[in-house]
Structure formats: structure tokens, C-alpha cells
Amino acid sequence: MQLWQMVLKELFHRKLNFASGLISVAIAVGCVAGALALLAAHDERTEAVITQKEAETRAAMRQMEDDYRRIMRDMGYNVLILHEDQDFAALQRAGVPDTFLPDDYAERLAAGGISTLNHLLPVLQLKTHWDERDMEIIVAGVRGQVPIEHRRRARPEGGIGPDGTPIMTPVPQGTVDVGHAIAERFRFSEGDELLLNGAALTVNKVLPRRGANEDITLWVHLDQAQEWFEQEGKINGIFALECVCHADSLGQIVEEVTRILPDTQVFEFSTLVQGRALARARAAEAHREAIEAERQNRAALRREREQTTLVLVPLAVLGAAVWVFLLTVANVRERRYEIGILRALGFSAIKIIGLFQLRVILMAVIGAPAGYVLGAVVGASLGGAALSGSVLGAALHPLLIVAAILAATALVCVAAWMPALRAAGQDPAEILKEMT
């Protein structure tokens, strides 16, 4: 009869003692595994919540930027780059600049890596009397917006990015884009013919109402305007649209533009833009604060869980150790005569110790994995992790389960050591005398 067979038989004989020891080990191991899984699940959940929030914020901010960009584009250009000698009063009086710039300045600006402006439109605008229709108008020559290559590349995924749909498309030679007020007055529509400075031009497009000088402007090809006004190779301004990326941008725009084109100045004609940018910055800040609040909320919850764990886990482990100790004491007491007779039959002390240690080791070997798995599942689900998720997968790693079994075995061996030793140390003569 081998020792372990005796141990097994005894377990079945005293099921209650064994089962309650096993359960106490399972609870202790379950508490440890549950606590670890709970905290791991908590961290994973936190990560997921924050990541989700950040993604939402990014999406909201992008949406906002896109809306904002679209609105700004619809409002038209809001920055005008002029020669540094241009007098503002004169500009206000005349409605058009009276100083000139080389017509490659917009290209230079684009090539210079401008980042605060979009939609660069070099223009030559002059006030003139439209003889054919007897009306004071502005004639503007444009070649189309200057592409900003480095910016186009920076945003390859499309959407309304910088330099997206142009505000002002090129006006082909022999055609004219008609400002809204003029078109309304003379009932021009696309395809109509009109005479300007003796030239016959086809209406390419009627522009939407802007409520500004653009509405009384006829837009022609830049070459045409330069020829009419004898300003070959010249423009007198570059229209642009402020980039949406900066809240306080005018200073930056001025700095950037004058760095690339030192003999220019920047005129901004909408402060609404700045208000919008500010609102956007505030919204971004609010999002950041919400995320931070969530983070702190989660951190507080984690601390709370940690503290509960810190109390519960040692209590469960200590409780299991004490319980296994008491169960072994009771078992030793109950088996006093058995020990006496086995000693008289020549059982060694090691074998007697083995009888008691093996039974608690069995408690650990069965109770620990059961408790571990159960604890991990409960902990993970309390922490909000999916039962098929990685947290439970990591918690149920075979090595961890083996470690739990080893730790539980060590615990019960220590707990049962003293009573088992006492059992082996009992004087068989004493016991046998009681028996006779």
C-alpha cells in the first residue's frame, strides 16, 4: 500500500475536512487571481476608453476643421498681400491697390514653404470706367491660384485640405467671370457675350455674392489685364485664405510672408476668422479636459480597487493558511490512534508527516487551479474585460496557473507543517497505552 493511496482513501473517508480545506485554498487563490485580473482588466478598459475618447476628439476636431475650412472658403479670401509702400487709406479710397509687385511673387511665396496661408491668388485689379456699359467697375486679372505643392502632399487622404477646391478658378483667355452685382444689373448668365475695352468676351461664370468689391468686378485672364493696363509682368496684390491651423495667426502670417517676400505687407480683412479659430481652440481644450477627467476618474477607481484588493487578498490568503492549519490540527487529533498504531507498525516519521502533508498538497493542487480560473474569470468580468479578450487570455497563461499551484502548495505545506510534525513526534507508547 503506497502512501498516496492511503492519503486518497483518507480524503474520501473525511470528505468534509478535505473539501473545506480545498475550498479555502480555492478562495484564497481565486482572490489573488481575481485581483490581478481585475486590475489588468481595469487597465485594459481604461486604455480602451481613453483611446476611444481621443479618437472621438480627433474626429470631432477634424470635422470642425473641415467645416471651418469650407465656411472660410465660402466666405472668400480674407488676406491681401500688398507692396510694403501701399497706403491703406489710398486702398480704402480707391478699393484697389496702387502699388505693384512682380507677378511671380505668389509662386515665390508658395515655393518659400508658406504654411499660414492657402489659396494664393495673384491678381492685378484696377478701377476703371466700363465704357460699353457706362459703369465704374473693377477689372481683375487672374491666372488662377498658385498651387502649394508641399501642402498638397502633406494631406494625401483628400477631403477639403489646404489648396483643395480653389476659391477662384482660372479664367480662360477670351472669357470673363462676372461679379454678382454686375451680373444682376445686366442679367448676364453663363455663355453670354459682352464687350470690355473693345474686346468681345464670353461669360465663363457668374460669381456668387460676396458683399464686397468682388461683386462689382469683372475677372479676366491676367495677361489680358496686364496688357490693358500696361502692367506687363506685374500684379498689385495676392489674395489668400488664412490657414485654419492657428488661433492667433496674423502675427505669424506677417512674419512668414515678410520673411519670404520682404518688400510686402499683409492686410487682413476679417477678424471673424480669428474668433472662429479661438472657438475651435477652446473646443479642443474642452475635449482635452474631458479626457483628462476621464483618466483621473479611472485612476481613482483603480486606487479604490487596489485598496480593496490589498485588504481582501492577504485576508483570504491568511484565512486559508489558518483554516488549513486548524483542519490539519483536527485531522491529527482525530487520527491519534491511527498514528500510534502506524508508528508501532514501523512507519517512519517522514511517512507520518507525508500522510498529512500530501493531503493538504492535494487541497492545493486541486483547489488552486479551480480557484485561479474562477477568480480570473470573475475578476476580469468585474473589471469590464471581455471573457474572450486578451486580459483573461493572459491571466489564464499555463505558467501562471502552475505558479499559483506552487504558491498554494507552499502555503498549505507551511500551514500544515507544525501539526504534521507534532503528529510524527507523538510518543506511540503513550497512545498505545491509552488503547490497551
Partner: protein, 219 residues
């Protein structure tokens, strides 16, 4: 060579000044084939003598030798191993292990864990005591006589040389007592030595030698 040789064994209990002398210079020799009974009133020291001869109770004085081996010169664990191989015990209370079957109780003291051989030995031993039908029963389901026979089988499983029996018939009816005493006599005839202690006069009839004991001294 004697199987058991006790010389001037003295055992005292209690403190020096008011100590009780349970064994008073007891000398005893049991050669192979001896079936010796010791008789005496309650408290005269019979069990004490048996435990001392059985290597379980160290005497204060004298020498206890079994098969040329001085019992108390050995360490506790050496004595345990020696007991397992050499000495069998039978008690009034049988103290079978309640969760082991009859066969398992009998084979529990087996030294070498050769299961098949052990089972065969246990079965043969049980057959010898007419217990073949009870091999797989738990001790709790057996009668008193059957239980004492199981205890006897257990005491003999390792083929000891010395059998120490303390009132083995105390709880038994006449028929069962006779069976047990016959087994002891057979054991002696086969070359062992039996030391039977009892205060029952009837139990001593089967012994070759009967000794009286009184107040710790053999008369």
C-alpha cells in the same frame, strides 16, 4: 540465540521523589518457539513490559535485546524500521484504520511497495484467518472476532520474529479467543516467540510458560 532478552529492566513513572516503579528489574528470555504468558493484576506493569520489549518505551535501567540488537541503542527511526521488520503487535483494541479495506489494513505495514506480491501475501494471510470473504470490506462492518483476526494478520504480514500481544482475547467470545490463541501458538511453533500478557487465567492455558507479575516484578 534468544529472540527476546530482557535484563534487569527497570521503568519508573513520575518524579524522582514520589516515582512509581512500573517495572522492577525484570529479566526475561524468549528463545525461538517460546510462547510465554504473563499474568497479573491490573496495574502490575504488563503493558509497560510489552511496550519496553517492543522498542516503544525506553526503560530507565537494564538492557532490552531483540535478535542480538540492543533496542534502545538505536535511534527512533532505526527502531521504527526494526519494529516493522521484526516485531508484531496485537492489542485488545484492534485499531484498524477505518478508511482502509481489510486487505489494505493488513498490507499497510508492508515494507517493500511491491503491490502485487503484497496483495498476494495479504490475501494468503487473510485466508489463513478465515477472512477470505471480507477482503474488501471496511473494518467498521466486521464483527469483533473478525477484527481481531485482521489485526493478527496485520501483525504477521512482515513475518516478524517476535509477537507481542496485550490482552488479544479480552473482547472476544470463547470461540474467537480460541482461534486467536491457536494462531499465536502456531506462530511460536513455526519458530517465532510470543509474549502474551493478560490477567485472564483462561488465556494462559495455551502458553508453554506462564509467569506471574506483581507490582512490576516477575515472580
Amino acid at each position: 540465540m534468544d529472540i527476546l532478552c530482557l535484563k534487569k529492566i527497570t521503568k519508573r513513572f513520575g518524579k524522582e521523589d514520589q516515582s512509581l516503579v512500573a517495572l522492577d528489574e525484570v529479566s526475561l528470555q524468549l528463545p525461538s518457539g517460546a510462547f510465554t504468558a504473563i499474568r497479573g493484576p491490573s496495574g502490575c506493569g504488563k503493558t509497560t513490559l510489552l511496550l519496553t520489549a517492543g522498542s516503544l518505551l525506553r526503560p530507565d535501567d537494564g538492557s532490552a535485546v531483540v535478535l542480538d540488537q540492543s533496542l534502545y541503542a538505536m535511534s527512533i527511526e532505526q527502531r521504527a524500521a526494526f519494529r516493522a521488520a521484526t516485531i508484531g503487535f496485537v492489542f485488545q483494541q484492534f485499531h484498524l484504520i477505518p478508511y482502509l479495506s481489510v486487505l489494505e489494513n493488513v498490507t499497510a505495514p508492508l515494507l517493500k511497495d511491491n503491490r502485487k506480491a503484497g496483495r498476494a501475501r495479504g490475501q494468503a494471510m487473510l485466508e489463513r484467518f478465515n477472512l477470505a470473504d471480507h477482503i474488501n470490506k471496511l473494518p467498521g462492518t466486521l464483527s469483533t472476532g473478525e477484527r481481531q483476526r485482521v489485526a493478527l494478520a496485520r501483525a504477521m504480514i512482515n513475518s516478524p520474529k517476535l509477537l507481542l500481544a496485550d490482552e488479544p482475547t479480552g473482547n472476544l467470545d470463547v470461540e474467537n479467543a480460541a482461534t486467536v490463541l491457536t494462531a499465536l501458538a502456531d506462530f511460536a511453533r513455526e519458530g517465532g516467540a510470543v509474549l502474551l500478557v493478560t490477567h485472564d487465567a483462561k488465556a494462559t492455558e495455551r502458553a508453554d510458560t506462564v509467569m506471574e507479575m506483581n507490582r512490576g516484578a516477575l515472580l
